[in-house]
Symmetry: C2
Subunit: 236 residues, 2 copies
């Protein structure tokens, strides 16, 4: 059954009209017809089933037949702030895999040693959207515009805060310190790591230093390792 | 300090001559000179330090100054047999990330619903080699030529055997059944999953069915999730 991402729908809708682009895709490409069943996700937990009422190639009309709210709602909130990689494909892989495994929010972190200071968030969001459709998730992770470490540290975060780094110093393992079914924010630095000053500033802002194992991991691998660990520890 | 992968060296060597290709890279590209320090890994646990004795661009001579054997030796043995993906980049991504996280052996599994029946193992091995150099690992994971599920089931494996699948049926979580600091083999099927007959055959051959969480994962993501779980559970 084909799945459409339609963020403008909500559970009050009895009918929905696909956009011109989605209508064309439904009727010309997928060759769906009147009475074909489709699914819709709204990115906020809603999973809808619908039947095609009018197979118009520019404005396909759907009758909503059922809606589930809070579909597969996650039992914890995970925000990863990661320094975007010089090679954008590596960041794209991370976004796709983190979305499959489970994540709520991603920030792109500009640090002292960041190799990349900007990123096309609209393009990166498409990767996430494709991943939620492919892995049947009704929640669309939020991807924030790039911000500096200082800007991130200035924003309040209600939950635990962690920074993963490779400098010497006391570090905890998530399995020992993570509060389960709770909210966490994890900072992942660039290939050259956070600077000692950046680490200090984070620690002074209530961040705990964590280790992600003994292997030397690339930025995007470290970010995914953090994502794995939080999801794994939160498995009921 | 630059690192070379030189599988033909062993701890008895006092001197080593780089290949023509590596020599050219060392002297013409990296601009190393007499007395420059370099590191070598032999793929079997040996990490060597050396000094350039003769900076010849076609046959660079190194004096070995120290050798560590069993460098960062893993405390468990992990073999993942995964159906190669239609899009070969996804498989390449898995090989790189699994090598960073930790893996000993990978087999490419041809199953009933495999989208890809062959793969260039020599090219894929280069991905693994680059990953061990980048993440400073002295052990080179072994990548086997493609083989069918039946051929794999015919080979004895000394250790625990698991199959991850999405069909209904009793499944265990690795955290409940994995013997730590031991040997394990995990089968990961293609996008279309293993067939019921294949699952039966594996179960009859002593494989335990496992789940890798509730998310719908792509083949390469499932393979990496398995890799992550085994490494995480084996963390001392």
């Amino acid at each position: 059954m084909h799945l459409f991402y339609t963020p403008d729908i909500d559970p009050s809708y009895k009918q929905y009209i696909l956009s011109e682009e989605e209508s064309k895709h439904a009727i010309r490409v997928l060759r769906l017809e009147t009475d074909s069943k489709v699914q819709l996700i709204d990115g906020r937990g809603g999973l809808y089933e619908a039947l095609i009422a009018d197979a118009h190639p520019k404005r396909t009309i759907l009758n909503i037949t059922s809606v589930v709210t809070g579909f597969d709602k996650r039992n914890h909130y995970l925000h990863i702030a990661v320094a975007p990689t010089k090679n954008i494909e590596r960041l794209e892989w991370f976004l796709e895999k983190a979305t499959e495994i489970g994540i709520d929010e991603i920030s792109l972190l500009i640090t002292q040693r960041s190799e990349r200071k900007e990123a096309r968030v609209d393009r990166l969001n498409k990767i996430i959207t494709a991943a939620i459709k492919q892995s049947l998730k009704a929640y669309h992770p939020v991807l924030n515009e790039p911000l500096t470490l200082n800007q991130l540290l200035d924003k309040p975060f209600d939950g635990q805060k962690f920074i993963a780094h490779c400098e010497p110093g006391e570090k905890h393992e998530l399995k020992d310190v993570l509060h389960l079914q709770n909210r966490s924010l994890i900072l992942i630095g660039p290939e050259g790591d956070f600077s000692p000053a950046e680490i200090d500033r984070a620690l002074q802002n209530g961040f705990k230093a964590i280790t992600l194992g003994t292997s030397r991991l690339r930025t995007e691998t470290a970010a995914l390792e953090a994502c794995f660990e939080v999801n794994f520890l939160n498995r009921v």
